[in-house]
């Protein structure tokens, strides 16, 4: 009994540490310049960050705790909390997770393989670039995990056909896996539908009365940046992972033969592609009127109504806990803004730098980029934006540029397994280790931040006045 209790303590130590620290701060005298509700929001943020990073309790439990503590801490009324849990960005998260299930089950991975191989030929470098660019372009519309889930088996099969000797194809496997991961990560900030964090930021900017960013406007900000980063990423990957193979003639032929056996596109697959094109067009032309999330849900409805996917399958494959957690994190983000906690935090953080940030404007953006990158590599992208977004928007410069910067930098989870969905997926193959992420991740993260800062300084201000 005592041992079972001690085991529970050892497993839940971060929950207990968070509870003790939060209790101490809750009962300590509150600092000047912040309301009681604001100060308690910060305490709640601390608890949530510790629990998300440590996973001391299941995700849905964190989401429930956010709602409970918002009311218990007198941060907001129960009805206000309930309302803040549902929004268009939560609809988008829900819809995109369900769409991923619907799309992955259509068997389009074989088609995608044939397209890539017909474009690349049999050379290793060309195939790497093919995986990289196709992942990037498709992810920018469909979402990271959908594309990586579809391409992962293709890559692993190609590697397996190259050689059964794991050592012989280790570098080749890493090169291809990182190609789809990096392509997907870059693509994920290219459009609002590329990642949940983009939708969250659009909603924050709109709710805080700062800007209405349309789908096309977002692309105008981010797509050129994505395209500029792409050759650097591909080059760095090919320099970091050097397989002994130069051409994969036999493996590619075997793969072609395997996917060629699947025959022509069937009606179901054509309908599936047609629906996705419809959804994509609706995102471009209608999302500023009816919302990106509503369109995602409409897409799920089409797939369900046409019988392309069963509800039971969507229900069992969708991680509802993630939806609930994002809902909670967005709700907390809104309260950080509403109670003035976000502003108080940024004011104190900025005071550390004195007038330095006013004198050197770029430093402000460097700071936001670096902080976001660090948090993302520990906590995961969308949750970081939900919690950090309201704080960084208040960082003293142009709030829209700061918000956009936070959303884009939150994609820079190149250094750790937990920094991105794509990274987590390729690590689950057992071929990639933590050191591999650092091997190329550190260099590219620095470069990506530099390019982002350059875009903020020299390209985005032009768009601010033009759009």
């Amino acid at each position: 009994m005592l041992r079972a209790f001690l085991y529970w303590v050892s497993q839940k130590r971060w929950l207990l540490i968070a509870a003790v620290i939060a209790t101490i701060f809750y009962h300590s005298p509150y600092p000047d310049g912040i309301s009681a509700a604001g100060y308690r929001s910060i305490i709640l943020m601390f608890i949530v960050v510790v629990l998300i990073v440590s996973e001391a309790v299941p995700l849905p439990a964190i989401a429930l705790l956010i709602a409970v503590l918002q009311v218990v801490f007198a941060i907001a009324e129960p009805s206000e909390v309930a309302q803040s849990y549902m929004s268009d960005s939560v609809f988008f998260i829900m819809g995109s997770l369900m769409l991923a299930v619907a799309i992955v089950r259509q068997g389009l991975d074989a088609r995608l393989t044939l397209i890539i191989l017909s474009l690349t030929g049999n050379g290793v470098k060309a195939i790497m670039w093919g995986f990289f660019l196709i992942s990037m372009l498709l992810t920018s519309f469909m979402g990271e995990h959908t594309i990586v889930a579809m391409l992962l088996p293709v890559v692993l099969t190609l590697v397996r056909y190259t050689s059964d000797d794991a050592d012989e194809v280790k570098e080749l496997g890493k090169l291809f896996l990182f190609a789809i991961a990096y392509g997907s990560i870059l693509g994920s900030f290219g459009t609002p539908s590329g990642g949940a964090r983009n939708a969250i930021m659009i909603e924050y900017l709109s709710d805080f009365g700062l800007a209405k960013i349309s789908y096309a406007a977002w692309m105008a900000y981010t797509y050129p940046l994505m395209l500029v980063m792409a050759p650097f990423a591909g080059f760095m990957l090919s320099r970091s992972f050097k397989p002994s193979q130069v051409r994969l003639d036999s493996a590619v032929e075997k793969l072609r033969a395997q996917v060629g056996d699947t025959g022509k596109l069937n009606g179901q697959q054509m309908l599936s592609i047609f629906f996705f094109v419809l959804i994509f067009l609706a995102w471009i032309f209608m999302s500023d009127r009816i919302g990106i999330g509503i369109i995602a849900l409409a897409g799920v409805f089409l797939y369900l109504a046409a019988g392309l996917v069963e509800w039971q399958e969507i229900n069992s494959r969708t991680n509802w806990g993630v939806v609930l957690l994002y809902a909670g994190a967005i709700s907390l983000g809104l309260q950080l803004k509403n109670t003035g906690a976000a502003l108080w935090l940024t004011t104190h953080l900025l005071s550390v730098f004195g007038t330095l940030l006013d004198q050197v404007e770029a430093l402000r953006y460097v700071l936001v980029g670096v902080l976001t990158t660090v948090v993302v590599n520990i906590m995961s992208p969308s949750a970081s934006v939900a919690v950090l977004g309201p704080i960084f928007i208040n960082f003293g410069g142009d709030p829209v540029l700061l918000g956009m910067e936070t959303a884009v930098a939150s994609a820079f989870g190149f250094m750790t397994v937990v920094g991105s969905a794509a990274g987590m997926i390729i690590a689950s193959t057992g071929i990639i280790g933590s050191k591999d992420f650092l091997r190329v991740g550190i260099k590219f993260t620095i470069l990506a931040n530099v390019l982002l800062i350059l875009a903020i300084m020299f390209y985005w201000p032009f768009l601010r006045s033009a759009l």
């Binding site: 085991y7 995700l59 889930a149 579809m150 993630v322 991105s420 969905a421 987590m424």
Partner: protein
């Protein structure tokens, strides 16, 4: 009698599996092989599950299943299981008690079980040892302080840490005899292993002072009587000095250390490291902690 061996990869777990199979043969025990893999972070887990579903359509299996397939082949090669039995079907998996079990062709009854778990190592091994009545758990490594301490404290079976194991060495056993409650079981375990490996036991009783209390001498006498009865070759020494340091020095790299698991209070073990746990951390050779 059931043994459990935890494996992680085809590269690093070969020796762990080899020693576990040899011991299971010697003790005529059934052997469960458990692969404990990392669990994807919950916030990002949906993509991992989707990709695994997609991979099944391409006949690509969970990396853990591939490691278990390798373990199965190793056990066939070492003739722990019949080499003539066909290989298992990697798609024939059964989910029970929060783990996945590979359905194995059972010509040998339930002699071998292959289990796939995901999550934190200590948590998964604890759950597995609570699910079935294992006598011994065999794990690799033992150098990572926190992991080793938690395994010793929370996995409620005897534990063999396959640390720096060299298959070409002819290991002797270093048996630590003291007044702890687990010493008798350690002596009996060591005798059985020595008999099976046809090796000798070097028993030591170490006291921090020059005096050896009645508990120590009684334990040493009992051990000598027991070892005489079993007929295994052994020596026994009384040594004054730091117990952990002495065990580690005497064991060198060519002895397997056999020591009783600490039976002191769970709170004491939780707050500070026990003598067996410290020995494990400092030794450069395999260590068995007998419960």
């Amino acid at each position: 009698m059931q043994f459990l061996v935890a494996i992680r990869s085809t590269i690093y777990s070969a020796r762990t599996l080899e020693i576990a199979t040899s011991l299971a043969k010697g003790f005529k025990a059934d052997l469960s092989v458990v692969y404990v893999g990392d669990q994807p972070k919950e916030l990002l887990s949906e993509g991992v599950h989707l990709s695994r579903d997609a991979m099944l359509n391409w006949q690509i299996h969970h990396p853990g299943v591939e490691v278990l397939r390798w373990a199965y082949k190793c056990m066939q090669e070492s003739e722990f299981i019949d080499p003539e039995i066909e290989e298992f079907d990697p798609t024939d998996l059964v989910e029970d008690a929060g783990r996945i079990r590979v359905v194995v062709p059972q010509a040998d009854g339930e002699k071998v079980r292959l289990i796939l778990r995901e999550g934190e190592t200590v948590d998964q091994l604890k759950k597995e040892t609570e699910y079935r009545d294992y006598i011994l758990t065999v794990v690799g490594g033992g150098s990572r302080k926190r992991l080793a301490r938690r395994l010793v404290q929370f996995v409620d079976t005897s534990l063999l840490f396959v640390k720096n194991y060299d298959p070409d060495l002819n290991y002797k056993l270093l048996l630590c005899v003291d007044d702890s409650g687990a010493t008798r079981r350690a002596v009996s375990f060591a005798a059985r292993v020595a008999y099976f490996l046809q090796t000798e036991i070097k028993a030591v009783t170490v006291s921090k002072t020059k005096k050896f209390g009645p508990g120590y001498t009684a334990a040493a006498n009992w051990a000598q009587r027991y070892l005489d009865k079993t007929g295994v070759s052994y020596t026994h020494e009384f040594i004054s000095g730091d117990p952990v340091k002495t065990f580690v020095e005497r064991a060198g790299s060519d002895h397997i250390i056999v020591i009783g698991k600490s039976l002191s209070s769970p709170i004491a073990n939780f707050l500070r490291s026990s003598k067996p746990a410290e020995t494990l951390l400092k030794a450069n050779t395999p260590v068995v902690l007998v419960k």
